[in-house]
Amino acid sequence: MTNHIPVLIITLPLIAAFLQPVTGFAGFKLRNLVIITILLVLNGLLFMLVPDVALQGKTIYYTMGASDPSQFTQPGISFPVRIVLKIDSFSLFTGIIVGVVTLTTFLFSTGTVKEDKRKSYFSTLFLLFTAGLMGMSFTNDLFNFFVFLEISSISGAALVAYRTYRKHAPYAGYKYILISTIATTFFLFGVGICYAQYGSFNIQYINSVLAHSYLDKVAMLFIIVAMAMKAGSVPMHMWVPDTYAEAPASISAMLKASGMVTLCAMFRFTFSLFGPSSSGAGKINYETLGWIVIVLGVLSMFIGVTMALIQHDVRRLMAFHAVSQTGYMLLGVGVGIAVFAKGDGGAAFKAFGKMAMVGGIFHIMNNAFYKNLLFLTSGVMERRFGTRNLNGMIGLGHRDTLTTVVFMIGALAIAGIPPFNGFDSKLLIYESVYKFSPVLAIIAMFVSVMTLASFMKVFYSSFMGPRRDDLIVEGAPLTKGTKAGLIILAALIILTGLFPGIIVDGIIEPAVTALTQIR
């Protein structure tokens, strides 16, 4: 049983998704209970893998349909032939983000998404989205990755357009699937170029025979551009505000998780697929690649936050912050990539490059938590006032104490104020980037200040001020599930902020080691 955990993590949400039409007949409460149980089991399975994979540095393989699934290659064949799942510390880290975000988001959505009694479109699509993201985290096969990418984009687009009665929601969904389809087509083209040369889709096998020819660089361009497009980095960020603004609040949070997973996949392809191969033939120019990633990151940070400052729509504001925060991760990891293969025998990488990467990867996790929390609170604000415009909101702090407190926690965390988790990862990024190039660190700090400014605007205009009950359109108290989702996320933010050492040593550091180790 235990060696089937990798495939169970992907199949559980898939099975649950296709059970929805059946469980829907049992009623609303029972159906939600079943889904929450399944998501809890999913998280339990993920955390069961932590001692083996993260702490002891093992790598678990799972070959689909083989007599001994835990072997990478089958007896008698020197190369991998079937779909292989691979769980190392980095993919486990990605999986844990998806697991936690999915659980809290679903808890929140039980109280906020309205469905007719026996219909279960929302939960079916939600679980399919989860399955797609989990598959993207764990697969070691390029075509399989493509399939999971498509599963997540199709279900994601349907969820963005879920409230079809609203004027712009279907168009936002159309935009999301348009961008996703272009990205996946580019990705598949890159995969085709790899297959043409090496006759395999297995990431690890391709890496072991990679010749670093000119064609490989073309393939890398196609694959990395596709991933950056899905993650919403700056030149390809125009879909982010529209899509995040029109989706239901819980789906904005899920889209954010999807962006994080594609970002992780992009880093994985940079190192595990196109990294230095064991055959020792040539290598890509890491310094140039690193600088490209850094420039993308700085542009994302700066353009995202300056656009966010002038928004009046709370969800668009948060979506632009999502672009801006993506920049921090790109900056941290980009510095790591730039010094990764420098001529000094890895001295610069040991001195500050690894710390920059730890900061960038840690920021992915922190960002997934606090951004999720902020999107969920924006959902509560939208429900209360029936509008997303900040000019129409005032004095929510008198009514919803819990929402006010968790919003403050989220806003302070995103701005990098000490007791919360954003501070820890941002400090790691500032310190290490300063050693690489002081100007970049100063830009990063400046962006952080602007982030605080724009969230103070939101807090002041929607939570402070006199109590205005006449503006409230939906005054029903939050359900238990909604509260539970918010409280779990707030608790995670505070705990990660107070004890960053445990998380960094236990999960982040092994993830970075697994990512950068040269096979």
Partner: protein, 119 residues
């Protein structure tokens, strides 16, 4: 010679579709453009799998052959998957385009002008 011609077709189809994604304004025409992109990738994979003077990859044909020349089966299987995925994408995009037309009364992306601020 044939394969070079095919690769040129693949690249020109891809360029054609990307240009039309950038320049076309009608939501339905964008769907068509994306379908062309998908077809170009499908053609690319099929071209990769083709071997001159070979048979279809069917197991029972194998003993009858003098030398074992078959086209590669795995890209064909993958392209079958991609065609199905493309079908799902097209269906969903057309549905969303129809609902957009119902809600806004236009299919022109310049008139839709993105998602406005909520009032």
């Amino acid at each position: 010679m044939l394969s070079i011609f095919l690769y040129v077709t693949v690249v020109s189809l891809l360029i054609l579709s990307i240009t039309s994604v950038i320049y076309k304004r009608n939501l339905i025409k964008l769907v068509i453009a994306l379908n062309i992109a998908e077809s170009s990738v499908n053609l690319f994979f099929i071209t990769l799998a083709y071997r001159p003077d070979s048979t279809a990859p069917i197991f029972t044909l194998a003993p009858a052959l003098q030398e074992l020349r078959m086209v590669l089966p795995s890209p064909q299987a993958l392209i079958l998957t991609n065609i199905v995925i493309g079908f799902a994408t097209t269906a969903l995009m057309l549905v969303l385009a129809v609902i957009t037309y119902k809600n806004n009364g236009t299919l022109d992306i310049r008139k839709l002008k993105g998602v406005e601020d909520h009032d």
